[in-house]
Symmetry: C2
Subunit: 338 residues, 2 copies
Amino acid sequence: MTTIKDIAKAAGVSITTVSRALNGYSDVNEKTRQKIIEIAKQLNYSPNTLARGLVMNKSKTIGLLVSGLTRESAKDNFTFEILSGVNQYVSEVDYDMVLFSTTSTKQREKTYTQLCRERRVDGAILQGIRIDDPYLQEVVESDIPCVLIDIPIKSETVGYVTTDNVLGAKKAVRHLLALGHRDIAMINGYEYAFVSEQRLRGFCEALLEAEVPFREQLVADGAFKEEKAEQEALRLLTCYPEITAFFCASDLMALGAMKAIKKLGKRIPEDVAVVGYDDIILASYTTPPLSTVAQNQFAMGYEAAKLLIEMLEGKATSHIKVLETELKVRESTFKNHE
Amino acid sequence: MTTIKDIAKAAGVSITTVSRALNGYSDVNEKTRQKIIEIAKQLNYSPNTLARGLVMNKSKTIGLLVSGLTRESAKDNFTFEILSGVNQYVSEVDYDMVLFSTTSTKQREKTYTQLCRERRVDGAILQGIRIDDPYLQEVVESDIPCVLIDIPIKSETVGYVTTDNVLGAKKAVRHLLALGHRDIAMINGYEYAFVSEQRLRGFCEALLEAEVPFREQLVADGAFKEEKAEQEALRLLTCYPEITAFFCASDLMALGAMKAIKKLGKRIPEDVAVVGYDDIILASYTTPPLSTVAQNQFAMGYEAAKLLIEMLEGKATSHIKVLETELKVRESTFKNHE
DNA sequence: TTGAAAGCGCTAACAG
DNA sequence: CTGTTAGCGCTTTCAA
């Protein structure tokens, strides 16, 4: 493999000059530069980023740290869209992305901080990490620049991107209220997620606005899982047959709720309406299509990468980005062709 | 950041000894080793993989080169599952994965070979690359070890993993034939894919077996796109109203075909049956659920990574892996509760 | 405008 | 069992 040394020899100059020429420094004779570039091309030269990273002490690489990159998680392709967005921005600014997945048994032995340090990533984006994850604390307290998805921690080196989950939930619940629903149940995610707390708050606030009393027993923990949500929905519908609508903190859980409703022989939306959250691909393909609060995960990934790299280059103005959500009304709440 | 030099000083030994102790060489006094490990832990040492990579001339990193990591491609999460599988194996054997996406404009300027060389990846896995991609040729002819997904190229440094696409297609068509269909149309992918050719072959062979004449005009090019497939299905059904079944070379195209069939007011499967290929998540959620030839993409990714790393370590016996497919019969071909 | 020299953190002969 | 030395490919003072 060609090195700048080879080029230097071929061009009859020093390696210093080659380095400067190739890196676009101004203090190099234009003629020399042309010659060097020409030779580099001929010799099929590729710079060695390892060597460069070693001396410059930065790798132009960021780490994407995700949890749950399993075969099952593909259903809810949240992670994938984040990843696509991150990748998009990162490659626009000529960085690379290395993927760390915390589900893989081997890497469990290492903390996130170690993972990042060893690969000498310049910064990291964290996605799908639970707020009670012990390694999370460690990494945000380290000196590694981090951007978190949906976890509101901010410091000198830490920022986050999220959506307005309170408002998002409100939109969903207001929609149900506007349709006349009063007995609305909520299937929330597990408590170890910031979004769960926020969405619950939105749920409550919307009820308050409409002067509908909040009944705690109508809130269940679906743990962001389809099956768990199905069980909980089944339980709720049985104990509280007055329920006419579900607000679910994720589409996956909404799928579970829909299954439960159908199992009990009830119709959607005539007997029970359902609203989800996320707008996963599946949402528009279910029967009936699922109304949901859409968040643009690709954009979240993109903005996270952008924020991180701005932080790395010292030109981040704010460390926080809050994106918008959009309520998508489909037939699981409302049939307009009756 | 701590280096082995710091450890050496603290332990009162040479850096060589530290290196050896930490890397588990046998020729180091057990007591010394313990002391060194202890100090390393105290000092919160993380090895610098850049430095190690530089001197050892290998990075313990592989590149995953994919095309089409766009927001739209999430629907068909083929890429994501491959990625998950690759990541799984890679982390089991303590490698890292860096992602190169060819859609991102910036990287288009660089050939795949350059991408790999610059990051000094030890090898690469290529997915979703068209066989007429000019950079593909270059990279397989380079000295970079490669494993291709669904592209049958084999050499000293190149291997591939695929499924038996001829057989897969046969299974699907035999199923249709067994149900009594004789006028079967096929919506194939674009020709720049190995799998298209193979699936067409399977289609023909199955017809031959059943002594049903092959009619070329019943084969359309859906380009692996939902919309294009819909158009083509519409055209076929209009020109050849005798068609009672579609075999589609991807589920995405099958979705398109189903739309077309519904538009014409025909029922699935009573009037027209549909079989897809891939078994994407959506397949079981369509109305009616889609019969399809399932391939385990997670396994494909996993096996590709395994093959690549075996090749890197010189212990690959074969450079080819062919995985199995499975026909999943759902209601788009057959209703058993009539 | 150019070159010599040092050094990033690590591994690998080689010698003791 | 341990240390000395050289060097991976590159950037960066400092001098010329």
